[in-house]
């Protein structure tokens, strides 16, 4: 694997790693929603600055973080182009009856910024929170729904397993691509019309191994006495510390300041 992917976890001991997963999830949600509520430039400079500060605090090399954005390059380009052509306003350039507008340029840039923020914030969340912690947090947050008879614990378990296997799947794709390229398959090189069918020999072994892995995992879980309906207790309990409290206050303060700025900007 030549890059750090969103969804990977990087163990560490930074203050961000130590925060309660519930606090981190709440904060991430807030950071992702804020740019939609607060569109003005000053708010977003503040927000982006805060996210950069978090990234520095997380001890993940910034370049590695920037490179994770490669994952959404195509989505980003698509969204940008879509906005560029569909936003009404002052035309800058007209090609065949469709105009690129000044407003479109701005709207496209805003889309890209939001997308980047989304990826960076969620990456920071998973880098600094182990899958087990994350699932534990989800379970704790959804706990009230369990009283209504919803299978919250099972959901958390499924989530843990899914998160755990995301990086594994990417590694597996990499290995299979190499194995097929060694047999002359055109996958990463060659003309596009040859590359697309080239992925068939990649996906078949990938799915086969994913199913096999799932089956092995299910067997291993049953062999160790896992029963979905059982009440299980946690090895580690979540409890909020003073740091968690401080972090929560900080993020709420950020939200309040941004909303205040928005209100003043009118």
């Amino acid at each position: 694997m030549s890059l750090l992917l969103p969804g990977m976890h990087v163990a560490g001991g930074t203050p961000l790693h130590r925060l309660d997963p519930r606090v981190k999830m709440g904060a991430s949600l807030l950071l992702m929603v804020l740019p939609f509520v607060a569109p003005s430039l000053p708010s977003n400079l503040l927000l982006a600055g805060f996210v950069v500060a978090l990234a520095i605090l997380s001890a993940v090399p910034l370049m590695a973080l920037v490179r994770t954005l490669r994952v959404v390059v195509w989505t980003g380009i698509f969204m940008f182009v879509f906005r560029l052509f569909t936003t009404p306003g002052t035309p800058l350039l007209t090609v065949g009856g469709i105009s690129v507008t000044l407003q479109g340029l701005g709207a496209g840039a805003v889309q890209i910024y939001r997308l980047c923020l989304l990826v960076v914030v969620s990456s920071l969340l998973t880098y600094t929170t182990s899958p087990a912690q994350l699932a534990h947090g989800v379970e704790a947050v959804l706990e009230p729904l369990a009283r209504l008879g919803l299978p919250v614990r099972e959901f958390a378990m499924v989530l843990t397993i899914a998160l755990r296997f995301v990086p594994t799947l990417f590694e597996e794709i990499e290995k299979i691509v190499k194995a097929q390229e060694a047999r002359g398959a055109l996958i990463r090189t060659g003309p596009l019309w040859k590359r697309v069918p080239g992925w068939v020999p990649v996906f078949v072994p990938l799915f086969v191994s994913a199913f096999r892995r799932a089956e092995d995992l299910a067997t291993a879980m049953e062999a160790r006495g896992f029963r979905s309906a059982h009440q299980r207790t946690h090895l580690y309990r979540l409890h909020l510390t003073r740091h968690d409290l401080a972090a929560s206050l900080l993020i709420l303060a950020l939200g309040a300041v941004i909303l205040f700025v928005e209100w003043r900007m009118g």
Binding site: M8, P61, E172, K178, R183, G184, P201, V202, P205, V208
Partner: protein, 288 residues
């Protein structure tokens, strides 16, 4: 084809917290027709080196040159050279995708652009070399094969491309002793017939003793020794440092020598050791 490895280094996930250096400063030159064994403890970088030679990974530093052309380059010329390096992976299930065994084997030859008759002939030939019965295998679904059969199938898929350079990553894992012997013998026969360059990665010293004339010992991503198989595989301090034991025939000869017998200790195979002992025995009339 001349394989030149110069100052080769490789780091997985470079400049991330998960970075892991698998190889550093490796220099090697492998000429056409050589039989080279690569030995090293788990995680020493053997598979990584093999994939770099096959042009499947891009070096972090240094070069791998196939007849002077960078192995990983994205040019058509480099791709043609890469196709001359056949690589059988350590985990065969990573490449099996077709619905029948013959079609699986045919994938490589078809990518070479060969005609149907030639492909069919090569499929039959390759299945035979790895010891799978072409008739019995005609309609078998690859995914229903046993671990050992899959390994043979994956190897057949590479052999059918008739590469002038063949890299085998742990070729005998999952095979029973008889199957292992047969496979090694057939690969060796083919090697001798075609002047094939054979690069074998193994933990099994006996495999290497049989297949390799030269052994490269990798420890922690660096070349710890590179020399004739008889020298490297009978060097007890060197092997023990890399957490290997000398092969049993060498251990026996070394023990005999310690108790006063003037035997040579660098005979790697049981047959060779037996001949050596018999010779010394008859020349001394059975007296120390």
């Amino acid at each position: 084809m001349l394989i030149s490895v110069e100052g080769l280094g490789y780091t997985y996930a470079p400049s991330t917290p998960l970075a892991r250096t698998a190889l550093r400063g490796v220099d090697l030159e492998i000429r056409q027709g050589e039989r080279v064994g690569i030995l090293g403890p788990t995680g020493s970088g053997k598979s990584t080196l093999a994939q770099l030679i096959a042009g499947l990974l891009r070096p972090t530093s240094g070069h791998v040159l196939l007849d002077g052309v960078a192995a990983h380059a994205r040019t058509a010329d480099a791709r043609l050279r890469r196709l001359k390096v056949g690589m059988a992976f350590q985990y065969p299930e990573h490449q099996i995708f077709e619905q029948t065994v013959p079609r699986e084997v045919a994938f490589g030859p078809r990518n070479l652009g060969l005609n149907d008759a030639e492909v069919e002939a090569r499929v039959a030939w390759a299945l035979d070399i790895v010891g799978l019965d072409p008739v019995e295998m005609a309609d078998r679904v690859p995914l229903t094969l046993s671990g050992g059969e899959m390994r043979r199938l994956a190897l057949a898929g590479i052999l059918a491309m008739r590469p002038p350079v063949l890299i085998l990553d742990e070729p005998t894992a999952n095979l029973d002793p008889r199957g292992r012997q047969e496979l090694l013998t057939r690969v060796l026969t083919w090697q001798a017939e075609t002047e094939l360059t054979l690069i074998v990665i193994s933990h099994n010293l006996d495999d290497l003793a049989r297949l390799a004339e030269r052994v490269v010992l990798l420890v922690a991503g660096q070349v710890a020794a590179d020399g004739p198989a008889r020298e490297v595989l009978s060097d007890r301090p060197l092997l023990e440092d890399a957490s290997f034991d000398v092969p049993p025939p060498v251990a026996l000869l070394q023990a005999l020598r310690q108790s006063g017998w003037a035997v040579a200790t660098n005979r790697l195979l049981a047959e060779e050791a037996a001949t050596e002992i018999a010779q010394v025995w008859s020349s001394t009339g059975g007296m120390v």
